[in-house]
Symmetry: C2
Subunit: 351 residues, 2 copies
Amino acid sequence: MKNFDINEDPHRRFNPLINEWVLVSPHRAKRPWQGQNETISTEELPKYDPTCYLCPGNVRANGMNNPQYESSFVFENDFAAMKQDEIIFEDDIKHTFFKAKPEQGISRVVCFSPRHDLTLPEMEIADIENIIRTWQKEYTDLGNIKFINHVQIFENKGSVMGCSNPHPHGQIWAQSSLPTQVEKTQNSLKSYYDKNQTTLLEDYVKAELKAGDRIVIENDHFVALVPFWAIWPYETMIISKRAVNKITNFTADESTAFAKILKQLTTKYDNLFNTSFPYSSGIHQSPTDGLIHPEWHFHMHFYPPLLRSATVKKFMVGYEMLGESQRDITPEKSAEILRQLSDVHYKSLVK
Amino acid sequence: MKNFDINEDPHRRFNPLINEWVLVSPHRAKRPWQGQNETISTEELPKYDPTCYLCPGNVRANGMNNPQYESSFVFENDFAAMKQDEIIFEDDIKHTFFKAKPEQGISRVVCFSPRHDLTLPEMEIADIENIIRTWQKEYTDLGNIKFINHVQIFENKGSVMGCSNPHPHGQIWAQSSLPTQVEKTQNSLKSYYDKNQTTLLEDYVKAELKAGDRIVIENDHFVALVPFWAIWPYETMIISKRAVNKITNFTADESTAFAKILKQLTTKYDNLFNTSFPYSSGIHQSPTDGLIHPEWHFHMHFYPPLLRSATVKKFMVGYEMLGESQRDITPEKSAEILRQLSDVHYKSLVK
Ligand SMILES: O=P(O)(O)O[C@H]1O[C@H](CO)[C@@H](O)[C@H](O)[C@H]1O
Ligand SMILES: O=P(O)(O)O[C@H]1O[C@H](CO)[C@@H](O)[C@H](O)[C@H]1O
């Protein structure tokens, strides 16, 4: 019998945002890897690619031409997962086992830059501020549409995340329902707020700043940290220090600080394995259902799949799908590694 | 305005086993794919591979020799995610945001066959019955250990599922807590049983057999179907017709029928894209916490990642991670495709 050492012993941690546990196996990072390696493109990209359907002036799948855009550019997804059509729905389809209901939604693509070869860490702060302004405009415009109650802003980066085009871009899926993960988060945020009159994340950020060992970056208005309950090896969250519930409520200073922390975090990510680091990221913020949501607190999740190198990822498979998420390195260790990485992008050193 | 057509219109479906929704976009299967393709090994495997650490007689990472086993063979995982050590745990680590507790567990590897080159669909029924007996023995032995309250039997098949060795094998992770997904399932099964005095899956199977359009295979004792709420393109569940709560309660006839449906389902999977079809599968059944669990009903999940071909998978990324699971083909369509596939393995036709 020995005393519990969270840095050494297998344990479970609790995620209060979605009320789920994660299994942490600190000792397991040592096992040898004989499995699949990802192919990572190291190809130098051109500034403009005539075959890219996202580059300025080029033709998209639907036959339309992109404008000669100079900063960001937004268009409707040609293969949207949802449609705007209003559907008449008879509730008798409702059945214990066969419960279904139509869903209305709009999907958009947001090109981050006219440059085919740039990613967030390689852009200027002013360019990232411009992306933030685009997200604000889209959140407002889509949120104002009567049937849209939730606006999900996200980015899939890298072929290992199913992204088919390296041109820097993200997506927005706006819809009538709260998606499952958001609904879980909302329930947790709401019950915490009702009890404490502060947001869960306001108090969480304070506790993390005090603890210190999971903090990756801190500036005047934001913190980037590896959550205590992180699932992915280098998962992080950017959380606003102030309890601001949506991106449109940022002050000018907050927008700049958010742009800076985005650049800094993604630079560290690229520097981790000297590669354009793949991830899915996305913003969780207040629904657009017309209600006031004082319980909501702006945050952005980063879920990167890589574990050991530019080519070896963490597989969330059998046990994880049937049992629960499992990680092989502690969040504290990951935070330490990320914290110590340079803020200067590795590519700029080579040149 | 048009009437809701579940085969055409985007909609959400509800999964009563874990109380979560899934977004279904029937029209989206048409979008072109320019993204990552998986590399699928088509290499003919030898019956015995001197470099394989699972083949009979070979040496494992820990220096131990495998016996010259002739059917199945079980050993402790050399890189287990949990350990058996009892850990002294002071509850003061419990904190709103930093909630953690040590977890005890045992991980085992189950080799399905001494033959390096066989997979489930290529084995004889008698060989599969032998694997089922091995699972029964492990469920009993592990379940009888005082600190083990749950035994998770699963298989990761194919390099795309993080499986590093083609030698046919599965795993068992047995532990003191109920893993997250199992706990969710247990809650749903329990509240259904308390209300109806029948198991949720007993009634679900009846409803599915009546509907017919999601059934893939039916025999005297089991049904293989694409659940109404399936997430993965060709996800299936094998469910016992009788409300049997664990594998050790199978009759002899049920064991044989289970072996048959396992062979038939995995054969159809291989025939879908003429490839050794990757998936993670696993059994959900009664916990081993010493309580009677009349609410539990034996079932096995199959989560295969492939969508369009042997090399194009469905990426569960940005929207799915941040919002909710999304699928591009209806469960009814998938079931129809699987149902119509031959029960004769494509490789046996070539020979
Ligand atoms: O145990 P293995 O085969 O080494 O590892 C595989 O399955 C485990 C259980 O699903 C996962 O945690 C690992 O990420 C995966 O690579
Ligand atoms: O929309 P895309 O980039 O075509 O598609 C990608 O992102 C979507 C949203 O996360 C996923 O549903 C797809 O599986 C993935 O390939």
